[in-house]
């Protein structure tokens, strides 16, 4: 009985001692061992570690992982061309020197964040006032971030912090400027729309004009070819006539004259005043042979 009790007592005592002297450092943490408030040692290796029981020694854990400062509100900055912009950034940082960090902020993460925010904001201000909006947004965004990181790294080192990254998230105009941006965008779209419409009508006109031109050309060419053809026809006809009529030009003259007379006087509205002494009327008066007279033919 006594044995059991004493065994148990011993066991409990051992457990108590173990509990106050053994501590576990997580993979995610640093541990700082204090002896009466003095930093005795910094443990960065995770695993099982020993210390003297309190109140001789105490242990404090600090986060080893990458931490973030991400302000809820974007800060206002003024650029080189005196424009107000809102810049939202975040900082990735981690404790690099737990002892220094502890000394600076007595382990309070809040304090560290405030301090870092200030540093970053100052650096941002420095960099942004040097640059135009456009540079901050696009051209030199990388450079701005790089410069800020460079600046902040130095200062952060003094408080035991390593800056992993500083990145800009939002870079926007303040609301009033936004509205004028919208107005400008609208105007720009209007310009594009008008341009599209007018080039559309110009192109349409061009196509129409081209069509008209083609039509005119087609017709003109057709006219030319047709006249050529008509000319060829006329020429051929002339040739045929010449060949036929050339056989007896005198008879042709007679033949053709008769034809012409006939064609000229064929309607009742043509009035012929006839002299009865003409050859045609030779037998009109007398049936005998007479000397030839002259024709007097008159048209209206």
């Amino acid at each position: 009985m006594n044995k059991i009790i004493s065994f148990l007592a011993l066991f409990v005592a051992a457990l108590l001692v173990a509990y106050s002297t053994i501590f576990v450092v997580d993979q995610k943490n640093f541990a700082i061992v204090f002896a009466f408030g003095e930093v005795k040692s910094v443990i960065s290796e995770p695993g099982l570690h020993f210390k003297l029981p309190p109140p001789l020694q105490n242990v404090l854990f600090l986060d080893k992982r990458i931490l973030t400062i991400d302000a809820d509100e974007a800060d206002r900055f003024i650029t080189a061309e005196k424009k107000n912009i809102l810049v939202d950034s975040y900082v990735k940082w981690r404790i690099s020197d737990p002892k220094l960090y502890y000394i600076s902020f007595s382990g309070e993460e809040r304090g560290a964040k405030d301090r870092l925010s200030q540093i970053v904001k100052a650096a941002l201000n420095d960099e942004i006032t040097k640059r135009t909006v456009r540079e901050v947004i696009s051209g030199e965004r990388g450079k701005v971030m790089e410069a800020i990181r460079g600046k902040v790294t130095e200062e952060a080192k003094q408080i035991g912090v390593e800056i992993v990254d500083v990145r800009l998230k939002r870079v926007d105009y303040v609301e009033q400027i936004n509205n004028s941006v919208y107005d400008r965008m609208k105007a720009e779209r209007l310009r594009v729309a008008n341009e599209l419409r007018s080039t559309g009508s110009a192109e349409s006109e061009k196509i129409r004009a081209d069509a008209d031109r083609q039509r005119v050309v087609l017709l003109a060419e057709a006219y030319r070819d047709s006249e050529e053809m008509r000319g060829a026809g006329d020429a051929e006809a002339s040739q045929i006539y010449a060949k036929a009529f050339g056989q007896n030009p005198e008879f042709y003259k007679f033949y053709r004259s008769l034809e012409a007379y006939r064609a000229s006087f064929k309607s009742k509205s043509d009035v012929v005043v006839v002299d009865p002494s003409s050859d045609f009327f030779k037998y009109f008066k007398t049936p005998g042979v007479s000397s030839g007279g002259s024709n007097a033919v008159k048209s209206k």
């Binding site: 009985m1 059991i4 007592a9 450092v25 993979q27 995770p46 099982l48 990458i66 947004i137 696009s138 965004r141 990388g142 992993v164 990254d165 998230k169 870079v171 926007d172 105009y173 779209r189 209007l190 729309a193 008008n194 599209l196 419409r197 559309g200 349409s204 006109e205 196509i207 081209d210 069509a211 039509r215 087609l218 017709l219 070819d225 047709s226 006249e227 008509r230 026809g233 051929e236 002339s238 045929i240 056989q247 042709y252 007679f254 033949y255 006939r262 006087f265 064929k266 309607s267 009742k268 509205s269 043509d270 009035v271 012929v272 005043v273 006839v274 009865p276 002494s277 045609f280 209206k300």
Partner: protein
């Protein structure tokens, strides 16, 4: 002594509690064990209480009355304590069993230090406080939504509006899908991992959009922007040792801000208008040119027809002339006279004529020519309809006639009557 006992019990319980809790939390498969175990635990607890109270009672008694109960009890107590310890040991060891689902990975730490990773299936580790495990879902695709929450319509203006290179504002909603590629890095490199992904997504998209022109972002460059964002995120996350792989960046919505939406729509419409106008022009061209082609070929055909006609006419005329000439040459004088007389007959028959003996010397003859002409017109127009019938019935008899024979004939009759009239007129005068 009582204190230390209580402490021991307390310690034991505190050792057990979190472990059971974790066991049932982490694994559903543990349910069997955990649902079985609580009654067990209670049983043990009851047992323990019973035995303890008996033990204390005996202890108290033992002081006064040692000899009486001593013999049977120590054996009992020893046996009891040993059994309890064994049960505790067993339960403690069993609490190291955990089950990892397919697609998950368990990260095991020994005294807080990462030692190894366990895959899917049933696993065992040293129980608390020696080892610990954390189960991470590796294969699950996680999503972070930027610019909206759960529905694209539920926009977050602060996240979605961003400036482009040409200082325009665009409104972008997108989702990032990612997987873990390294559970250890995921667990131990960063705090607030999910928030970190969102931050990285935001900074990446703004950097990419900030480098691009608005039209590029809005229209042709969407895919490019998405892939650039994915690449940049990957790069940043590698620097943070996040243990994350970006599976996909999907653009949910890329549009101009609402304030200027109307103007943009109009511009798009203008593009359509332009196409429409062009098409209309083309339609006009397609209408006009073929028609012109048709017209041109008509003109050409007409010319061809003309040529054929002229040549044929010429041939006809020439042939006729040649034949007449042929006959003429056989008997020139007679033919000549005949032709002349026939022609003159025809002429005089069809025209109005006035015969005057000019040799009489009286030049002052009054001829109402205009009246005669108008009369002739009137009578010819009157006479025509009736005579047109005749023309179709009566065959032409005059071979030399060039003009239609019918006209000749009826005009002849007319002429006669008119002649009479005319002469009467003159006589009256």
């Amino acid at each position: 002594m009582i204190g230390s006992f209580l402490k021991r019990i307390g310690v034991t319980l505190s050792l057990n509690d979190p472990k059971w809790g974790r066991g049932s939390q982490n694994n559903n498969q543990d349910d069997k064990k955990s649902s079985d175990s609580p009654p067990d635990l209670e049983q043990i607890w009851k047992d323990l209480n019973l035995r303890l109270s008996r033990f204390f009672g005996q202890g108290g008694d033992g002081n006064g009355d040692k000899g009486k109960n001593f013999n049977p009890d120590p054996v009992n107590a020893k046996l009891g304590v040993g059994a309890i310890l064994l049960v505790f040991l067993f339960v403690w060891l069993v609490s190291g069993v955990f089950i990892v689902q397919e697609g998950q990975t368990a990260v095991i730490t020994t005294f807080g230090k990462y030692t190894h990773v366990a895959g899917a299936g049933m696993n065992w580790r040293w129980p608390y406080p020696i080892q610990n495990h954390e189960i991470v879902d590796v294969s699950q695709v996680r999503t972070v939504e930027v610019g909206y929450r759960s529905n694209v319509k539920n926009k977050q203006a602060r996240e979605s509006l961003m400036l482009t290179d040409d200082e325009n504002i665009v409104d972008i909603q997108f989702a990032v899908q990612y997987k873990l590629k390294n559970a250890v890095e995921w667990l131990y490199s960063n705090r607030d991992q999910d928030e970190m992904i969102r931050q990285v997504a935001e900074t990446a998209i703004r950097e990419i959009v900030g480098k691009s022109k608005m039209d590029f972002v809005l229209y042709e460059g969407r895919e490019k922007v998405a892939s650039d964002v994915a690449a940049l995120m990957e790069q940043i996350l590698t620097r943070y040792k996040a243990g994350v792989q970006i599976a996909n960046v999907t653009m949910q919505g890329v549009q101009p801000p609402e304030q200027v939406q109307a103007a943009f729509d109009d511009a798009v419409k203008a593009g359509q208008d332009k196409e429409r106008q062009k098409n209309e022009g083309q339609a006009y061209a397609n209408d006009v040119i073929p028609k012109a082609r048709g017209e041109a070929s008509r003109v050409l055909q007409e010319a061809e027809g003309y040529k054929s006609r002229v040549v044929a006419n010429a041939e006809g005329n020439a042939s006729r002339f040649k034949q007449v000439l042929n006959e003429y040459q056989k008997a020139p004088v007679v033919t000549r006279d005949r032709m002349y007389l026939e022609t003159m007959q025809q002429i005089f028959a069809s025209t109005s004529k006035v015969m005057m003996d000019t040799k009489s010397g009286n030049n002052m003859v009054y001829l109402p020519l205009d009246k005669m002409i108008s009369q002739a017109d009137a009578s010819s127009s009157k006479a025509n309809p009736t005579n047109s019938l005749q023309s179709s019935i009566l065959p032409s008899t005059q071979s030399v006639d060039q003009t239609p024979s019918v006209d000749m004939r009826n005009s002849k009759e007319d002429m006669r009557s008119r002649d009479n009239r005319d002469s009467r007129d003159r006589e009256v005068r």
